[in-house]
Symmetry: C2
Subunit: 122 residues, 2 copies
């Protein structure tokens, strides 16, 4: 008997996934996953998501090299959000920052730039 938590997908078949740096605890990004993205993540231990804009499965870092090795996946109490605990290669954010949360709501810049986005994306 397995007590694996049931997952609750929204009406688009998605749920939000928080990626957190497994060492520093920094919250790196939030993206979405469908069932296939979660299965691919579990099979490969590399973070996969579902791109709502491109409407396709997406392996984080496949283009940029900024991959996420997934150490553990956690599920929240009501099964509608996941937490990927990851080893982040380079930076998680397409802007070149380590984390997508590099600004306060007042606009103060608090995040570290770790790569030049012009070099990573075409």
């Amino acid at each position: 008997m397995s007590d694996a938590p049931d997952l609750e997908f929204d009406d688009r078949g998605l749920l939000p996934v928080i990626a957190q740096d497994a060492d520093t605890g920094d919250v790196l990004m939030l993206a979405y996953a469908n069932r296939e993205a979660i299965e691919r993540t579990r099979e490969t231990d590399r973070a996969h998501y579902y791109s709502r804009s491109r409407q396709q499965l997406w392996e984080k870092g496949a283009t940029s090299g900024h991959t996420q090795a997934v150490r553990e996946i956690r599920v929240d109490c009501d099964g509608d959000t996941l937490l990927y605990l990851v080893d982040q290669e380079g930076g998680a954010c397409h802007t070149g920052h380590r984390t997508c949360f590099y600004r306060t709501i007042e606009g103060e810049h608090v995040g570290e730039e770790v790569f030049d986005p012009d070099d990573a994306y075409e």
Copy 2:
């Protein structure tokens, strides 16, 4: 001139908010906020959200006493997700756990129980 980031709400007028323990770095929960919930959070420094099931503004801990004092609010790169850095009173999860992410996707129990939910909610 303010460079406060623009916020991008979804078609329900909501965006996801990650609450993170400002001291330990633990990701505590994910909930949703509308513009009013964010304004109330900024005015009071106490975490407010919007309950999708009850369709109303919600102050975290108003019933249970398990409030979140908000130290800082961060915005992600595309302005559609917030991060509340909080001092969590008691536990964030209605199940009595410190964090809602107390299970792995395999069903292993990894989170700490910090209160009896029967005492906190009616």
